[in-house]
């Protein structure tokens, strides 16, 4: 019985050997290399089309699997691929995988940056919207409260604070943009430009919105002082400066299809903003000087404002030389006090930042003011009168002596 079982097992083993030999023998070399080519192509496609680390997951193991599965047929594959070889193909696949992994890593970093940028923009927009809402509300309250002076003053103070808060917020945003894009090289610009195509909104659009909002704020503003308009002008100056420094990079990065057109649009918006501020600024400055007893000639630009100051000081200095009156001296003291304490003291930085007056122009006014100051104090006649009296006394005594002798 045992012998029969052993015989049966031997026959079965022999049959299995024959069948397995037949299976091995049934392989087609042509089919093996065709299968290798197909599997290789599929892996190449997967590597080349991978756009995320999830796509790359398992690919490295599959490449290892391909190499392990076909390494025993490398001679056949070498012959089929000549002049390439099996190891060339596997190396190429691994190189592609490494390059793809590197690209995906860069893309994912860029995506992260874009996500961060989008979040920043969203937060910025929300904050701006809040400030706008607050500003509109304050403006309405201001319009309604014209009867109550105290309340109006408080509202104006609040309105001014809102503007300052907004300026500080936008300045922070611009500083942030400057830090990010001022020293960005061309290749990073190009990489971000590719990723930025997915942005719904971009920094250039946000800047355009900010400028438009500033323009409408300037248009709608009322009851503000020269200092407020000078602050707007200074903010405009800062904005224009930032745009000069990073405008090219921003437009090349975020609007690569039409950078020139975008730059022109922003420049036009900046010009419109300045025009809106200027309309109010020159009136407010003229009123401020008038209210302090300084009648400047009319001015509608930085240059004509500087000319008006120069003409006023020069004319007054000439009048002081000619008339040398107490009244002229009082005019001088009034101007000098207003110029030093208010114009230079309070507005100095804003005038420079807003490109209204330069430091050299202010120094020039100072020099003219010094000349005026030297000639302004009226000269005293007391000594001349005393001399005349003394002369009259002497003459009287001489006459008296002569009369007595005779």
């Amino acid at each position: 019985m045992k012998k029969t079982i052993n015989q049966s097992l031997s026959i079965l083993a022999a049959l299995l050997f024959v069948v397995s030999s037949t299976v091995v023998a049934q392989q087609s070399d042509y089919q093996i290399q065709q299968d290798f080519r197909a599997e290789y192509s599929e892996l190449v496609n997967r590597v080349d089309n991978a756009v995320s680390s999830e796509d790359l997951e398992g690919l490295n193991a599959d490449i290892d699997g391909l190499e392990a599965d076909y390494s025993e047929y490398s001679n056949i594959i070498d012959a089929a691929l000549y002049p390439e070889t099996f190891s060339d193909k596997i190396s190429d696949l691994r190189s592609r995988y490494a390059a793809s992994e590197q690209n995906i890593s860069v893309i994912e970093q860029l995506n992260e940056r874009i996500r961060g940028l989008m979040e920043e923009l969203d937060q910025f927009r929300d904050q701006m919207a809040n400030l706008d809402e607050e500003q509109a509300d304050l403006k309405q309250q201001l319009d309604r409260s014209s009867a109550n002076e105290r309340r109006q003053a408080a509202l104006i103070r609040q309105y001014r604070q809102n503007l300052e808060q907004r300026d500080a917020f936008v300045t922070e945003f611009l500083e942030n943009l400057l830090t990010k894009y001022q020293s960005m090289d061309a290749s990073t610009q190009s990489e971000i430009a590719d990723a930025a195509e997915r942005l719904e909104d971009n920094p250039v659009e946000v800047l355009k919105t900010i400028i438009s909002e500033y323009t409408s704020t300037a248009d709608q503003s009322s009851d503000l002082t020269s200092a407020d308009y000078l602050a707007m002008r200074a903010q405009h100056g800062y904005f224009a400066d930032v745009w000069d420094r990073i405008g090219d990079r921003l437009t090349n990065t975020f609007t690569p299809d039409s950078p020139v057109q975008e730059r022109q649009e922003v420049s036009d918006l900046l010009a419109a903003w300045q025009a809106s501020v200027d309309i109010k600024l020159w009136d407010a400055l003229s009123t401020s000087f008038n209210q302090n007893g300084i009648e400047l000639g009319s001015f509608t630009s930085s240059d004509t404002f500087f000319d008006a100051l120069g003409i006023y000081v020069r004319d007054a200095a000439e009048a002081a030389v000619e008339l040398n009156s107490e009244e002229d001296y009082e005019t001088y003291r009034n101007f000098a006090n207003y110029w030093n304490s208010t114009v230079k003291g309070q507005w100095g930085e804003l005038l420079i930042e807003g490109n209204v007056l330069t430091t050299s122009q202010m120094a020039e006014v100072d020099v003219q003011l010094g000349t005026w100051g030297e000639n302004a104090p009226p000269t005293s006649n007391l000594m001349f009168i005393l001399f005349l009296i003394s002369l009259a006394v002497i003459l009287g005594l001489v006459v008296l002596l002569v009369t007595k002798k005779s």
Binding site: D29, Q31, I76
Partner: protein, 149 residues
């Protein structure tokens, strides 16, 4: 009179053989013509197959006629180390062995494989023979230009 003529003729023949012996006589031995992987070729509308890699182009109409079929999807072709071409196709009963000649392939041998036609034939180059496998039936045949081993 006859002797000098015979002598002259013998000399002429000797000169001719000598001249022939002085002609091209270089022979390279042990040439291995073996094609490592079979070529699988699709006939065009004129029944011509063209193997770009191994640079051979021929018409298979006569083969089809010989096999009694009108068309075939693919022709399988391999060359052994001796330089003979082995040709077959799915549905063929035979493997045709050709030797090359000037502008032609001459049938060297027609090896009968089956009476039912091959299902999925494939040639493999092996050390001293050509292996024919029929992946449909699982049969394997070892061939050389003289027939089955």
């Amino acid at each position: 009179m006859a002797k000098p003529t015979i002598t002259t003729l013998a000399m002429c023949v000797a000169i001719l053989f000598g001249a022939a012996a002085c002609g091209p006589s270089l022979v390279i031995q042990n040439v291995d013509y073996s094609q490592p992987i079979e070529s699988v070729l699709s006939p065009d509308s004129n029944n011509e197959v063209h193997d770009q890699r191994y640079a051979i182009k021929f018409n298979v109409s006569n083969l089809l006629e010989e096999e009694g079929s009108s068309s075939v999807d693919q022709i399988r072709l391999i060359r052994n180390n001796a330089g003979y071409y082995f040709v077959t196709a799915a549905g063929f009963n035979n493997v045709y062995v050709f030797e090359t000649d000037e502008g032609e392939l001459k049938l060297k041998n027609k090896i009968e494989i089956t009476g039912q036609g091959l299902g999925q034939p494939a040639f493999n180059q092996r050390d001293n023979y050509i292996e024919l496998v029929d992946r449909a039936s699982g049969n394997t045949y070892n061939l050389n230009h003289e027939g089955r081993n």
